[in-house]
Amino acid sequence: MGIAFSFAAVIALIVLAFFGVAVLNLQILFGVIIPYAAFLAFIVGFVLKVVKWGRSPVPFRIPTTGGQGYSFSWIKQNKLDSPPNGLWVIGRMLLEVLVFRSLFRNTKSELNSGKLVHGSEKFLWFFGLIFHWSFLIVLVRHFRFFMVNVPLPIKIMEALDSFFQVGVPLVYITDLTLLLGVTYLFIRRVLMPQIRFISLPADYFPLLLIIAVAASGILMRYFIRVDIVGVKQVTMGLVSLHPTAPSSIGSIFYIHLFLVSVLFAYFPFSKLMHMGGVFMSPTRNLANNSRMVRHVNPWNYPVHVHTYSEYEDEFREKMIKAGLPVEKEQ
């Protein structure tokens, strides 16, 4: 159900944009209004979600320790996986966010004639990493469209990204790796039963949407040429708040822009918020020092306890008889 539904939804989005631009000439809607609305939805939605998370306190210090904690000087500790202080937490978080360290641990467990066998499984980590980094680089490369003069770092990035000097225009490596990564993520979700049968439409949809975004971008750059000057007019118009939407660019551009807009607008309301959540996860971003440093729960409240005197009142006779010391003799 999920795959067909999500596939149909993405196709519908493409048709909608094409119909809107090519037939109804709604360039302003698809080139100005929707991109602005989507960007606004993204920023506001993202901030609100993060603020909402931030408002929930962290009552307890609950890092998941993945290695030996702070102990005697003669016991080797694993400061990254069991960080003794904030500095090492930063290290743990950097590795988590930049290279997906937890996913790197991934194993695969299989039953082999009644015996469980555990082995390393790095595919998800590898393709996940490729996908996320490629996406980031592709996104940053797009900043050339939003600036009058292309800054040097972006030029360097482009030069490195087209290092192999193949094709006209030069093929960007990340265009291909982005598509490769996201396709792997989609295929494993369809083919592996353990993944397929936990998947929701909300899992297939963003993958297919990103595939469509990447494919439309690639089509536009390498196959269906668009009026690049017109494109830059639109993008510069958007950032300078003097929007314009020429009809001469070609529908594929508006399809690409619309899909990107949908992705932005969808982001804060979906699992894609893992981008923000990963930084705030209490099992990762806290030091394992709770026996050394007191952690305060802001909503700690007094509770009803059974006191020693209540206990002694109940058992006094038995205690005295057994020769146990008591506070009161009667």
């Binding site: 539904f5 998370w53 931030g54 929930s56 306190p57 009552p59 307890f60 609950i62 998941t64 320790t65 993945g66 290695g67 102990s71 005697f72 694993n78 996986d81 988590e96 997906f100 937890s102 996913l103 991934n106 194993t107 299989e110 009644g114 469980l116 996940g128 592996m192 039963p193 353990q194 993944i195 049968f197 936990i198 439409p201 909300a202 309301f269 918020m273 893992h274 959540g277 990963v278 996860s281 209490p282 099992t283 709770s290 026996r291 050394m292 007191r294 305060v296 909503w299 700690n300 306890v305 006191t307 020693y308 206990y311 002694e312 058992f315 038995k318 205690m319 020769g323 146990l324 010391p325």
Partner: protein
């Protein structure tokens, strides 16, 4: 009681589901769940909806407005716990956790994948608390809260041992233990706990320990050990109870006072402390290190935990020493100071024997017995004869809570290797931070759910079997009272011939005490290696 299938049948597990998890019907199957909480225990604990009930009946005797209670409960927890709030939102269902759970590996039941155990609650969260869920319903993975969903929650939140193995592998650190804790808190708003948790918790609340041992019984249990120790070593030990002015308060799980092989561990403590001449006392009021309140709600955990500091204050001790236990140490390490601290009436723990300052316990002021002993051994303060353990080929089972909730991994290994000559590790993917649960933690160590326990313990047993076949391992060491209670039946079922021991039993066997007679037997009254006996 439900019959447990034979190991050959039970190990036929299909780890490849054939349809979406939501399409499998809920089958609350005998052998896979514990009895419902008893009304009298719920009442003692002042928990809502106190009444007797049975999960096997259709009518769970819920309050009229149970649905609103649950939804309000979810809202309150979202506002109180960032962990819960984020974990409800950010899962991408990558499936990395799926085959990390011992219950999934032992059952093949989709809902035992950590991701699905979370989804059963998350789907309801989406329906009532997120725009996407309200707008797109099932297409956003949202479900209404119905009685069937509630029963599904109950069944599967009591098929999770809060071991956190999934959280180690999750790229966002989503911790199913945290979600199960919240889920069980919600269950407890409706009086839907299990008897095996509320019974011990109620005992602990009123009598100071899970087993409900009254003060004089604690004393007599320990006196019973003392006479055994005297038989074996010729040494008479006289511990003290509830003694004011002692330097150290010793708190350990009550399970070790009650049943083998935990009792041998308790004897080990007594012998070690005597040999050191330690100025310490037992308490009959704070006579429980473990905390079944932790399996009920954070509030209940705090209420039971409060006794430890309260008693330390009343007795005027300087610091607290804690025995071998798993979840006990997660609570002590990650929660106690926050719950019931600051312990400013205590001093930073210093070993009176070695002078070592326990830097790592300077706020909580509670030291783990294994780190205490490791320090003694490192400083050469114990005379040890490891050859007394030469009949044992030992492996070590890391407790989930001490490894993944504390980072306590090398200390027990150092101690065990110092007192045993034959030690072999289980495969890498099954120890230390990747350790597999005993399958019976978090209050699931009842007898009516034995099939669940044998299934959950399958990955652990499988790893033990590997070292039994490869190295002839015959003893499974641990630092957890629940392990000592639950691993023996697990071994008998899956890996016959492997026995279970606490670490301080091994220490006490190797410990050469001043003035002891020549030992003929170990603490189990079995002939020592080379002493024949026959």
């Amino acid at each position: 009681m439900a019959k447990i299938p034979k190991p050959e049948q039970l190990s036929k597990i299909d780890l490849k589901p054939k349809k979406h998890w939501s399409q499998f019907p809920i089958d609350i199957r005998p052998g896979m769940y514990c009895h419902g909480a008893k009304g009298k225990d719920l009442k003692t604990l002042e928990l809502p909806n106190a009444r007797d009930w049975s999960p096997a009946e259709v009518d769970w005797k819920l309050p009229e407005d149970w649905k609103q209670t649950v939804l309000d409960g979810i809202k309150q927890r979202l506002e109180r716990y960032r962990s819960f709030h984020i974990f409800m939102d950010v899962c991408v269902r990558c499936g990395a956790c799926a085959d990390k759970c011992h219950f999934f590996l032992g059952s093949g039941d989709s809902r035992n994948m950590p991701v699905v155990r979370a989804e059963i609650l998350r789907s309801v969260y989406r329906h009532y608390f997120t725009p996407a869920g309200k707008l797109f319903g099932k297409y956003a993975g949202a479900r209404e809260l119905t009685l069937d969903v509630l029963k599904e929650w109950w069944y599967y939140f009591y098929q999770c041992t809060e071991c956190r193995r999934c959280s180690l592998f999750c790229p966002y650190g989503i911790d199913q233990a945290e979600i199960t804790i919240m889920g069980r808190e919600l269950m407890n708003l409706l009086g839907l706990n299990i008897g095996w948790i509320t019974g011990p918790a109620a005992n602990c609340y009123m009598k100071g320990n899970h087993l409900g041992l009254e003060p004089h019984t604690i004393k007599s249990s320990i006196e019973f050990f003392l006479s055994d120790i005297e038989d074996i070593t010729g040494i008479k030990i006289e511990p003290t109870f509830n003694r004011k002015g002692a330097e150290i308060l010793f708190v350990t799980p009550s399970g070790d006072l009650f049943a083998d092989p935990g009792t041998y561990t308790a004897m080990g403590y007594l012998m070690l402390f005597h040999e050191l001449g330690l100025d310490y006392t037992w308490s009959t009021y704070a006579s429980e290190g473990g905390n079944f309140g932790f399996f009920t709600s954070m509030e209940m955990a705090k209420r039971l935990n409060s006794k430890i500091y309260a008693e330390a204050k009343r007795l005027g001790v300087k610091w607290i020493l804690g025995g071998e236990c798993g979840h006990m140490w997660r609570v002590l390490h990650q929660y106690m100071d926050t719950f019931n601290g600051p312990a400013d009436f205590l001093e930073q723990p210093v070993s009176p024997i070695t002078g070592t300052k326990f830097e790592n316990a300077k706020a909580t002021k509670m030291v783990h017995i294994v780190e205490f002993t490791a320090d003694l051994i490192k400083n050469g303060k114990l005379k040890l004869d490891p050859s007394r353990n030469d009949d044992l080929i030992v492996t070590y089972h890391d407790s989930c809570n001490t490894t993944r909730g504390m980072g306590f991994m090398e200390e027990p290994r150092y101690v065990i290797k110092s007192v045993c000559n034959h030690f072999h590790e289980m495969p890498e993917d099954t120890i230390r931070e990747q350790t597999f649960c005993c399958g019976s933690g978090s209050g699931l160590n009842a007898s009516e759910d034995m099939e669940l326990r044998m299934r959950g313990g399958f990955p652990r047993a499988n790893a033990v079997k590997h070292v039994r076949d490869k190295h002839g391992v015959n003893m499974l060491a641990n630092i957890c009272a629940i392990d000592r209670a639950t691993l023996p039946p697990l071994m008998d079922y899956w890996v016959p011939g492997v026995r279970v021991t606490g670490t301080h039993e091994l220490v006490a066997n190797a410990l050469v005490m001043k003035g002891e007679k020549e030992r003929e037997t170990n603490l189990r009254a079995e002939p020592l290696p080379g002493k024949g006996g026959e």
